[in-house]
């Protein structure tokens, strides 16, 4: 299709936003879907549509890694090599795929059938090692399934796939978040309202004041489950009441923390629960426009949530006059395009505004000056999904489930070397040992192996040793243990794990995903990764370990956002807790599996 033919659709997209530039990512997606890639000619055209300089479009296209600047194959196979996949054979998988296709990542087969891409965490670690074939997640890619995928990869786009659908273990124990996860096709409107769906929202908009809602949410200490753990009610209370500016609710569905895959379950299997939470939040802060920023790789999540949004409009739960109360809320689904940093709330806002995902200087904080310089609340998907329960069942019941300073349950994502990787809903007071070992959760370390290390809250969290897992999973307990609850992504490593490889993988992730705005992070993440690559190549020096620690220390606390700190913590904790293994690796002068290295 010619660019000119896309004009109408592009204009329609731009209409959804307060400022035309915010249409950047959706219009670029439109171009890529129609042309296969984004050419320089297309960039200039997009600049015209959005009224920005071509340089700004070029910045965006080059920043987000899902946009292609050159023609690619008819299908794209994106293979994840982030730590959770690596632990389950991601590297061997990529090797096998490279060998079979005869191409390296970044290349396209000679017949133009398939482009191979190596990608950072796709947040489907429960099906590791996994990949994404065009829009679909496939995994675990072991044995014959790899052949299936490689066969599918060579078929024409649109033809049915023979690779079996992933069948991870599904927890639907509830009581707060997972009760409706059982249906792989999702819980749609009829089913949702047949239970207790929209009961809380109805109660809120017909019988409560915004202040009462905020109070009710504050009581049981609901804390931000994206990772920061900030009290949700308090955050809502920061929105100024006496402002003429519009207010925005932005849902952070840019799930990207390696080892985390919970928000995807909510969006795919219980999307109305999220919408109900959004309606309540919007009512509490006096907002009439909400955006859901979904990471670009989550095609299915975006489709399912969009279907739920359409249903909600149809049944009067979104739009001008919700349930005849006069309350008004519009929801726009906005897709990212491949940048982990956009999960940082201010980077998410910059990205939503059409820029590169650069975190913003604070102050001002988003509650005062956020999206389009208007008061904005950014909440994580899981956080909002907890809200209907609190308003429906009461703050006391929610509080009773968790700890004093953090109420409720969380969806813990357990990946790596466990018997049964998956999402598990558990009270936040559950211990790390229980999550790993209990039959109702991950069922223990695989193959009867010994546990070596656990990352309790996504790749940014400091690692714990096997001796340190008798710790509750709430924010405060994990902080006291010197690490963090983060996003709830539990990455389990058994005795076969090389911590050197693990750090190389983590450092690659941070180097790939640093936005590049602040110098300590931009240069530091790359520096750390270069050293780790050299160490892995057998050219390490013992001095490198002290240098790595010093670089990590120097990166901490000096940047606009905490990405640099997050990049420093794995370095500090892996080397700090497994220094002997690192030294052994360096002095033995060969690339050895750590089991041999450690037990030599």
């Amino acid at each position: 299709m010619n660019l000119a033919d896309l004009e109408g659709q592009a204009r329609e997209i731009v209409q959804r936003y307060e400022f035309p530039k915010a249409g950047m990512l959706p219009v670029l997606w439109l171009v890529q879907q129609n042309q296969g890639y984004v050419s320089l000619e297309s960039e200039t055209w997009v600049a015209g549509v959005l009224g920005v300089s071509p340089s700004q479009v070029h910045e965006a296209v080059s920043f987000y890694n899902m946009f292609h600047t050159q023609p690619v194959g008819q299908r794209e196979l994106r293979v994840c090599t982030s730590l959770p996949c690596l632990l389950r054979g991601g590297k061997e998988l990529l090797d096998r795929i490279e060998e079979t296709l005869g191409i390296k990542p970044g290349e396209t087969t000679a017949d133009g059938a398939v482009t191979l891409t190596e990608t950072e965490c796709l947040c489907a670690c429960e099906m590791a090692p996994m990949a994404q074939l065009d829009e679909r997640f496939v995994g675990p890619l072991e044995g014959p399934t790899v052949d299936d995928v490689l066969r599918d990869a060579r078929t024409a786009p649109g033809s049915p796939l023979t690779t079996p659908e992933p069948e991870p273990y599904i927890c639907s124990d509830g009581p707060i978040l997972s009760s409706r996860f059982g249906d792989p096709e999702g819980a749609w409107f009829e089913e949702f309202v047949a239970g207790d769906g929209y009961v809380a929202a109805h109660k809120v908009i017909t019988s409560m004041t915004p202040e009462q809602v905020i109070e009710e949410v504050s009581k049981p200490s609901l804390r931000g489950l994206g990772g920061a753990g900030f009290p949700t009610g308090r955050k809502w209370s920061f929105v100024p009441k006496d402002t003429d500016k519009p207010k925005f609710l932005v849902v952070n569905a840019d799930e990207g923390e390696p080892g985390t895959f919970k928000d995807r379950y909510i969006m795919e299997r219980d999307p109305h629960n999220l919408l109900e939470g959004m309606i309540i939040a919007a009512y509490a802060i006096g907002c009439h426009k909400a955006y859901v920023y979904i990471r670009g790789e989550y095609f299915l999540s975006a489709r399912r949530l969009q279907r739920a949004v359409d249903e909600a409009y149809e049944h009067g739960w979104l739009g001008k006059n919700i349930q005849g109360t006069g309350f008004e809320l519009d929801v726009v689904i906005h897709r990212g395009a491949g940048a982990y940093i956009c999960g940082e709330e201010t980077a998410l806002l910059t990205s939503l505004e059409g820029g590169k995902g650069f975190p913003k200087l604070k102050p001002p904080f988003p509650a005062i000056e956020g999206l389009f310089a208007c008061p904005t609340i950014v909440n994580n998907v899981e956080t909002l999904a907890c809200v209907p329960f609190i308003l429906r069942e009461g703050a006391d019941r929610f509080a009773g489930i968790g700890t004093e300073r953090q109420g409720g349950t969380r969806l813990f994502c357990v990946s790596g070397h466990v018997v049964r990787p998956g999402v598990y809903e558990a009270p936040v007071s559950v211990t790390l040992r229980e999550l790993i070992e209990d039959e109702q959760y991950a069922g223990g370390v695989r193959d009867g192996n010994k546990l070596k290390a656990v990352i309790p809250g996504g790749i940014s969290a400091k690692v714990l040793t096997a001796e340190e897992i008798d710790v509750a999973m709430d924010f405060d307990s994990l902080m006291a243990a010197g690490t963090m609850a983060g996003s709830g992504g539990v990455i389990v490593m058994d005795e076969t794990t090389s911590m050197v490889d693990a750090l190389e993988s983590a450092s690659k992730f941070f180097a790939d995903e640093s936005c590049g705005q602040c110098s300590p992070c931009r240069e530091g993440t790359g520096w750390v990764h270069r050293i780790m690559r050299r160490v892995i190549a057998g050219k390490g020096r013992l001095q490198d370990l002290d240098d790595l620690l010093a670089i990590a220390d120097d990166m901490e606390g000096k940047t606009i956002c905490v990405f640099a700190d997050a990049a420093a913590w794995p370095v500090q904790s892996y080397i700090g807790k497994f220094r002997d293994e690192f030294e052994q690796y360096i002095t033995s002068g060969h690339i050895a599996n750590s089991v041999e290295a450690v037990h030599a």
Binding site: S53, F63, A339, C515, C518, P520, E523, T559
Partner: protein, 534 residues
């Protein structure tokens, strides 16, 4: 009005002042790369970290509003240690190009490394490779490897020129500065990005490899490219003819003036001064060939004295002092600085259509503007044989009125004198051609379009055998038997100020380096009162 303490000294500053500015008011320069007072705050370089008491983290001074009771340390161990680490990161991938980098000697990476870096490098990896020596436009070269991604240039083209050429592409340590592929950096202010680049990433194409900056001298002056009178520093080299292709003037940099050009300068002005070193008039030429100044002025004085009908086509390139002297020396003569020049290009920022640096001064002195004679009228009188002598200051009459009209002039007038800085066709026609100093080779004042009187300053001595117009005029007055009691431009200005009401309150001291308004301060009709919005 919060009061805070910086490095043990108290200061009260206006609400909303950032700590980096408050420190500056105390004379404390907090290192900076991305911060620029004329641009929005980016906060990305992190070099301005300061230690704020009761704050666990170091804070960037550029985005830290001063608050009551705040205690800030800019030089304690913690702050310097923090900045040292930031500097090490900035230099990690920075190439060791200093021996061949034009920025060397005025590079803030070098300067701050000497101030508080001085560490032994720990970076042993392969540096990131990017593009070097990219010509972005006529005036600007880019070296992506040297760039520290402070985004000053990006903000300049986004916020000041609003042309949006620059971008920072990719991410992480692959981030690179550039302009849109296939485009050219050709806005009217392009070279300002070189000035604001704190490192050697953006350098001037014109100045490339011409001279090491430590061989350059600098003096403040104003641009004569249009009636705006942007303040500039002229960098020059007098004692090393092997440098800079033998030219004295090496480059021009804008000089901050809040009331005129702030930090900026247009390319037209910046690169419009080549005439200073090219095709300069260097000999006094009379009817019988080369002569001395003494011979020339003696001969001329005999023909322009008492009773002679004299016409003078003066110039708005001359200083107020010189225009005043012309009036004094040629009393009773027809004098005009009104020449039929086409208005040039202009914009709503700095560039004015009127390309004369001193139209306003000439008008105030009655030599230009609607009240004054017209140069064409004087020329016609000369051609009609109604004048005994015609003196042309700088102009090329051939250019202005056409060769056909001017061809007969030497035959129609008894004495045709041309005085000017550069050779031109009128100089060739004249009975006497006198080489005079360029405006930066002498002291004096211009009045800009907003009525601001500004010192031109004397940057360098007159070229070759050229002489300042004022010196020549004073000597002529002496030879005419009407010596004037002034020895230098400052004294001439005092006399001018005593004679002309708009200048009454002014002296060189009052004008200072920022200029001062005439009385009453009235802008040129139709022109904005201030060059730049505050």
């Amino acid at each position: 009005m919060p009061k805070l303490t910086i490095d043990d000294r108290e200061i009260e500053v206006a609400e909303g002042t950032m700590v980096i500015q408050a420190a500056e008011q105390l004379g404390v320069l907090v290192p900076r790369y991305c911060y620029h007072p004329g641009l929005s705050i980016a906060g990305n370089c992190r070099i301005c970290l300061v230690d704020v008491e009761n704050n666990p983290k170091l804070q960037i001074a550029c985005n830290l509003p001063a608050t009551e009771g705040m205690v800030v340390h800019t030089k304690n161990d913690r702050a310097e240690e923090g900045r040292r680490s930031v500097l090490e990161f900035l230099l990690a991938n920075h190439p060791l190009d200093c021996p061949v980098c034009d920025q060397s000697g005025e590079c803030d990476l070098q300067n701050f490394y000497m101030d508080f870096g001085l560490y032994s490098p720990r970076f042993h990896e392969q540096k990131v490779k990017k593009q070097k020596a990219v010509q972005l436009g006529q005036h600007v070269m880019l070296d992506q490897e040297r760039c520290i991604l402070c985004s000053r240039c990006v903000r300049f083209t986004d916020e000041i020129t609003e042309t949006g050429e620059f971008g920072i592409f990719n991410r992480g340590d692959s981030s690179e500065l550039g302009i849109y592929p296939g485009s050219t950096l050709d806005n009217a202010y392009s070279a300002n990005v070189v000035d604001i680049c704190p490192v050697g990433a953006l350098t001037e194409a014109d100045f490339r490899f011409k001279a090491r900056v430590w061989y350059l001298s600098s003096a403040p002056t104003v641009c004569n490219g249009c009636s705006r009178g942007c303040n500039i520093d002229m960098h020059f080299v007098l004692d090393r003819p092997h440098l800079n292709d033998g030219a004295r003037m090496a480059r021009v940099k804008p000089r901050y003036n809040a009331g005129v050009n702030e930090w900026w300068l247009c390319d037209e002005g910046r690169y419009g001064l080549g005439w200073l070193d090219h095709e300069r008039a260097d000999v006094v030429r009379g009817p019988a060939g080369d002569a001395t100044w003494e011979e020339a002025l003696t001969a001329i004085s005999l023909q322009v004295g008492e009773g002679a009908r004299v016409g003078v086509i003066a110039s708005t390139q001359l200083t107020n002092e010189e225009l005043f002297l012309i009036r004094e020396v040629f009393q009773g003569a027809r004098i005009s600085a009104n020449v039929p020049e086409q208005p040039g290009s202009s914009d709503d920022f700095l560039i004015m259509a009127d390309k004369s640096p001193n139209m306003r001064g000439a008008t105030l002195l009655g030599l230009a503007g609607p009240e004054a004679y017209d140069a064409g009228q004087i020329l016609d009188e000369a051609l009609a044989g109604d004048l005994d002598a015609l003196w042309v200051f700088g102009h090329d009459l051939v250019d202005l009125f056409g060769e056909e009209k001017v061809r007969e002039l030497p035959q129609r007038v008894g004495l045709l004198v041309f005085s000017g800085t550069n050779e031109n066709s009128t100089a060739s026609l004249a009975h006497w051609a006198l080489p005079t100093a360029g405006y930066v080779e002498k002291d004096g004042t211009f009045v800009n379009c907003d009525g601001r009187v500004q010192r031109v300053g004397r940057v360098m001595p007159p070229y070759g055998r050229s002489q300042e117009d004022w010196r020549m005029l004073l000597k002529l007055a002496e030879m005419l038997g009407r010596p004037l009691d002034w020895a230098k431009p400052e004294e001439i200005f005092e006399a001018l100020a005593a004679a002309e009401a708009p200048f009454a309150a002014l002296s060189y001291e009052a004008i200072g380096k920022d200029g001062a308004a005439i009385t009453p301060a009235t802008p040129t009709p139709g022109a904005p009162a201030e060059a730049v919005a505050p």
